[in-house]
């Protein structure tokens, strides 16, 4: 997928144009198929290939971490990535482009749900086999998927609605504590809550409800901010929401029955990869539905000219409140998933640093765009993991990157692009030769 992204900007140099010519007719399903084959190959021969290239083990995150620790291994790691991922995916994608194009042409006639589910299944299979290699990969992947949810939900407020909200870690912690409290109370023998009330078998069934509860708690918290700050427009929301984040943090630090500053641990291990994936799919689906409806586009109208929106019968206050609560709900759900992924939360997890991360992902990826949120969350999250060996320097490199983005693409990498599933999965034709 790397090549595809670099080939898409508006006025690419000639070399990219040729690449686009070459890969333009590969439909999404062929890409996914290529990815699936490549992760399957990795599972079978990855270890041997790594040894052959002089690497001690399979490079976990595309070899970056390895290269940071031992720069001499960099060529080996690069070769591994090139052979196993890039070459395999491009080759298989290109070879299978024709049959998959025919298939896509057929599927586009069916109800949209069928091809979408097929794509999602393949996508999930890729993730599953990729994450199967190591627990670290699985954890990183889950956290990345959760980061997409957070980024997307913040994008509703900061991108689509054009306000500036800083309270996302607060919503996340409300959701995390809400969902954790329920699950620990019911299913875990715990120091704080006493013995489990229900048998563990029921856990997976109650888990979605606990997540939704966490989301609702977060939305109620959002209501507290929304009532005063949406009476007017301007910087009030930024200030109030920042204050809210700190208030929530110190609230949890002082609530002893939720563990106080020491935090809450021992959440049942229910946020496995499929669960997180399914929640992410639901989140993207619902949010994308919302922002593409006239009711969701009212947010854009409010952002670009609130007075005109009112004059065109849009109930702007209600629109803003709904969007804010909706975003908070998803932040809460993401928080609940986060708590059950890392299985330990304390108030410090949801501080200013988390806020900086989420904001960076939103502005890096692109405002007002579902693609942008996905790109931003995935790239910054993986980058953060890759640069982890650099410790403190990570916090110099990532902000520098952000500054560059702000200079060259002020609204982010993929801003203002509508996420149209139909367009995404349709059969592709070779782009016309440009003179």
């Amino acid at each position: 997928m790397v090549e595809k992204n670099s080939a898409s900007p508006g006025n690419p140099p000639k070399r990219f144009l040729r690449l686009r010519q070459f890969l333009g007719d590969v439909p999404l399903l062929a890409w996914l198929f290529g990815g699936l084959i490549s992760v399957l190959i990795e599972q079978q021969v990855g270890e041997r290939l790594a040894n052959l290239l002089g690497l001690p083990k399979i490079p976990v995150l595309f070899g970056f971490m390895l290269a940071m620790k031992e720069p001499l291994l960099l060529p080996g790691a690069l070769a591994y990535v090139l052979v196993l991922y890039i070459l395999t995916i491009v080759l298989i994608g290109k070879i299978t482009a024709r049959p998959f194009n025919l298939m896509a042409a057929k599927m586009i006639q069916w109800p949209i749900a069928i091809p979408v589910i097929l794509h999602l299944v393949v996508l999930y299979a890729i993730m599953h086999f990729w994450a199967d290699i190591s627990l670290y990969r699985e954890l990183t992947l889950k956290l990345t998927l959760i980061a997409i949810m957070l980024t997307l939900s913040l994008n509703i407020i900061n991108g689509y609605m054009g306000e500036f909200s800083c309270s996302h870690p607060g919503f996340m912690s409300l959701g995390a504590y809400g969902a954790s409290a329920v699950m620990v109370l019911f299913f875990v023998n715990d120091r704080l809550f006493g013995d489990a009330i229900l048998p563990e078998v029921l856990g997976p069934f109650l888990f979605p409800l606990a997540l939704i509860l966490g989301g609702i708690v977060a939305a109620l918290g959002a209501l507290l901010i929304a009532i005063p700050s949406f009476k007017t427009r301007g910087d009030y929301l930024a200030i109030i929401s920042l204050a809210f984040m700190f208030i929530v943090k110190s609230l949890f630090e002082n609530l002893q029955f939720l563990g106080g500053a020491r935090g809450l641990k021992g959440q049942p291990d229910l946020a496995n990869l499929p669960t997180v994936f399914i929640w992410l799919v639901i989140c993207v689906w619902v949010i994308n539905n919302f922002v593409r409806s006239t009711m969701g586009k009212a947010l854009n109208a409010v952002r670009d000219d609130e007075l005109a929106a009112e004059a065109m019968t849009v109930n702007t206050r209600r629109t803003k409140m709904v969007a804010f609560l909706f975003a908070a709900f998803w932040a809460g759900v993401a928080g609940g998933l986060f708590a059950h992924t890392v299985r330990f939360i304390n108030p410090n997890t949801f501080g200013v640093q988390r806020l900086a991360e989420i904001l960076a992902m939103v502005y890096f990826g692109g405002l007002n765009s579902v693609y942008g949120s996905i790109v931003g969350a995935v790239s910054l999250n993986l980058l953060g993991e890759m640069l982890r060996p650099l410790a403190l320097f990570k916090w110099i490199i990532i902000p520098l990157l952000l500054i560059l983005i702000m200079i060259y693409r002020p609204t982010g990498l993929v801003a203002f692009k509508e996420f149209d599933v139909r367009k995404l999965i349709q059969p592709k034709r070779k782009p016309e030769k440009e003179v």
Partner: protein
């Protein structure tokens, strides 16, 4: 009974009296105009009637209902459409999205529809789109439907705004200087559009205008506003001859 009736509307900005004892009656299908020098309070009157400001005193009755104190969006959805003097378009949205947005208050699918993409939503959005395309056709800008408004020439932007105002299906259309900054050709086209709306759709129109020529051509009755007070009201001919109007526009010397 008149469609819109304004009785003794007065408005203060702090200690400044912006509008004093303003009265207005508009019958269905009538075209009326409000003229006056810069800063006379014309746009303030529009903003008062559309609910952006709440008048200090007075009543505004639209179709038998008092609309004083209502939010602008509910005034708009009761049948009072407007355009703006300085083109308040949404710069990241396409032409089609603009026009569909004005049908917001007619959508009944609610949040469930918005979140889960129900059949009702698809039906209503499709109907809304059809209606929007119809209006774009009427304005002759259907071929621009997928363009972002910032890419359009000025005249086309004015048409988008007009189509958007019509999409809320108003009973009265308020036009705030619809021809400002236009070339003579664009101006002629705009005149044609306003006439079409009046003739074919039977809309009542109330417009603010600077160019007396247009007002004289279009309107049945004209009010002249100076410093927040109506100094003259009548047919175009009467207004043209009224010494007070001439004085307000040209200064006192010219009368003699």
């Amino acid at each position: 009974m008149p469609l819109l009736q304004v009785e003794n509307m007065t408005h203060y900005f702090g200690g400044l009296r912006a509008v004093h004892n303003f009265n207005l009656e508009i019958e269905p299908g009538q075209i009326r105009a409000l003229i006056g020098p810069n800063g006379a309070g014309k746009t303030t009157i529009f903003n008062l009637m559309t609910g952006i400001y709440t008048p200090t005193e007075g009543r505004i009755i639209l179709d038998g209902q008092n609309i004083v104190g209502l939010q602008p969006h509910s005034v708009a959805s009761r049948g009072l459409g407007r355009t703006f003097q300085n083109l308040c378009l949404w710069r990241h949205m396409t032409v089609l999205e603009h026009v569909m947005m004005a049908r917001y208050s007619r959508l009944t699918y609610g949040l469930v529809g918005a979140f889960f993409g129900t059949a009702l939503r698809n039906r209503e959005e499709a109907a809304s789109k059809a209606k929007a395309m119809e209006l774009l056709d009427l304005m002759d800008i259907a071929h621009l439907a997928d363009q972002t408004v910032t890419n359009l020439p000025y005249g086309a932007q004015r048409r988008v705004e007009m189509a958007r105002a019509l999409a809320s299906e108003p009973k009265i259309l308020f036009l705030d200087e619809p021809t400002v900054g236009m070339t003579p050709e664009e101006l002629d086209q705009m005149l044609g559009i306003i006439r079409t709306l009046h003739r074919d759709l039977g809309l009542a129109i109330y417009l603010i205008e600077h160019r007396l020529k247009i007002v004289m051509e279009l309107c049945e009755r004209i009010q002249t506003l100076v410093f927040g007070e109506v100094i003259a009201e009548g047919t175009p001919e009467e207004i043209q001859k009224n010494p007070k109007v001439i004085e307000a526009y040209l200064g006192k010397e010219a009368v003699h």
